[in-house]
C-alpha cells in the first residue's frame, strides 16, 4: 500500500491537505495503543506498524518537496540522491542570497525585512508548486524531478526564516 492509498487520497501532487490531516488523525486514533491493551501481541504489533507507517506517510505527503519526490519514486525516479548535488547555478545563487539576507536581517533584529523576505520566498515556492502540478499532469518527469529538488531548498529556506522570525518575536 502506498502513502496515498493509506490515506485514501488520489495519487496527485495537488492534494487536499485538509483531507490528509483528517484521515491521518483517524488512522492515528484507530491504531492508538490504548485501544489494544487487551489485544493479542500480533494485533498490538500490527497496530504499532500502522501507526509508524502513518506517521512517515503523513510527514512525507505534508511537505510539497517530499511529496513530489515520493510521487517520482513511485515511477522509479530517484529525485533526491545524496551523491548528486548539482543544481542550476542561478538557483543556488538565489538560495545563497536569501540565506545571507536572512542572516543579516536576523543579526540586525529587522523583523520587517524578514517578513518581506518570507512573502517573497512563499511566492517563489507557490510558483514552483504550480509548475510542478502541470509538469506532473503533462508527465514531464525530468522537469518535475528538477522542480522537486528545488522545492526541498524552498522548504528549508522557509523553515529557516520562520525560525528567525520566531526567535526575534
Amino acid at each position: 500500500m502506498n502513502y496515498f492509498e493509506l490515506f485514501k487520497l488520489p495519487q496527485t501532487f495537488g492534494l487536499d491537505v485538509a483531507t490528509l490531516e483528517s484521515n491521518y488523525r483517524k488512522i492515528q486514533s484507530e491504531s492508538h495503543p490504548d485501544r489494544f491493551v487487551a489485544a493479542s501481541s500480533a494485533e498490538k504489533l500490527a497496530s504499532m506498524q500502522t501507526a509508524t507507517l502513518a506517521n512517515e506517510a503523513y510527514l512525507t505527503l505534508k511537505s510539497a518537496g517530499l511529496r513530489a519526490a515520493y510521487l517520482l519514486s513511485l515511477q522509479g525516479i530517484v529525485a533526491i540522491d545524496e551523491k548528486n548535488n548539482q543544481m542550476p547555478a542561478d538557483f543556488l545563487m538565489q538560495q545563497m542570497d536569501w540565506r545571507e539576507e536572512i542572516e543579516d536581517a536576523e543579526n540586525a533584529h529587522d523583523v520587517s525585512t524578514l517578513e518581506n523576505l518570507l512573502a517573497e520566498i512563499e511566492i517563489a515556492g507557490k510558483n514552483l508548486q504550480e509548475s510542478l502540478k502541470s509538469q506532473f499532469q503533462n508527465n514531464h518527469l525530468s522537469e518535475a524531478t528538477e522542480s522537486a529538488r528545488k522545492l526541498i531548498f524552498m522548504d528549508k529556506v522557509r523553515a529557516d526564516i520562520l525560525k528567525s522570525i520566531e526567535k526575534l518575536d
Partner: protein
C-alpha cells in the same frame, strides 16, 4: 545526535568564513546544494600563477557537519595545487571529522564544492589564455 569533538571545534570556530572577489580572474567559485537536506555551500579559492591555492573562503548554510566539512577543506586547500585539490576525496573529510553514516553526504557536498571551484578557475584560466 552527538557531534565529534572535531566537528564541534569547526562548528564553533569555523575557519576562513567569508568571500573572495568573484570577479578576480584568479578566484574560482564553487556553489553546490544538497537536495537531501536543502543545505547550500559556497567555496572560493584564489590561485596564483604557479597554480597554487593561496587562499580559500567558504560560506555554508546547513547543519554542523556541513559547516565543519567546508571549514576543514578551506584549511586543507591552502598551499595545494588545483590538481591536488581536485583529488581530495569525501572519505578523507568524513574520516578526519569522524562523521556518522547519516552525515556522510555533508562530506560529499564539500568534495563537490571543491570540484566546482576548481572547474570554475580552470574555465576562467582558459578564457584568459584564449583572450
Amino acid at each position: 545526535m552527538a557531534y565529534s569533538d572535531k566537528v564541534l571545534d569547526h562548528y564553533e570556530n569555523p575557519r576562513n568564513v567569508g568571500s573572495l572577489d568573484k570577479n578576480d580572474p584568479n578566484v574560482g567559485t564553487g556553489m553546490v546544494g544538497a537536495p537531501a537536506c536543502g543545505d547550500v555551500m559556497k567555496l572560493m579559492i584564489k590561485v596564483n600563477d604557479a597554480g597554487i591555492i593561496e587562499d580559500a573562503k567558504f560560506k555554508t548554510y546547513g547543519c554542523g557537519s556541513a559547516i565543519a566539512s567546508s571549514s576543514l577543506v578551506t584549511e586543507w586547500l591552502k598551499g595545494k595545487t588545483v590538481d591536488e585539490a581536485y583529488a581530495i576525496k569525501n572519505s578523507a573529510i568524513a574520516e578526519e571529522l569522524a562523521l556518522p553514516p547519516v552525515k556522510i553526504h555533508c562530506s560529499v557536498l564539500a568534495e563537490d564544492a571543491i570540484k566546482a571551484a576548481v572547474a570554475d578557475i580552470k574555465a576562467k584560466q582558459l578564457t584568459k589564455a584564449t583572450a
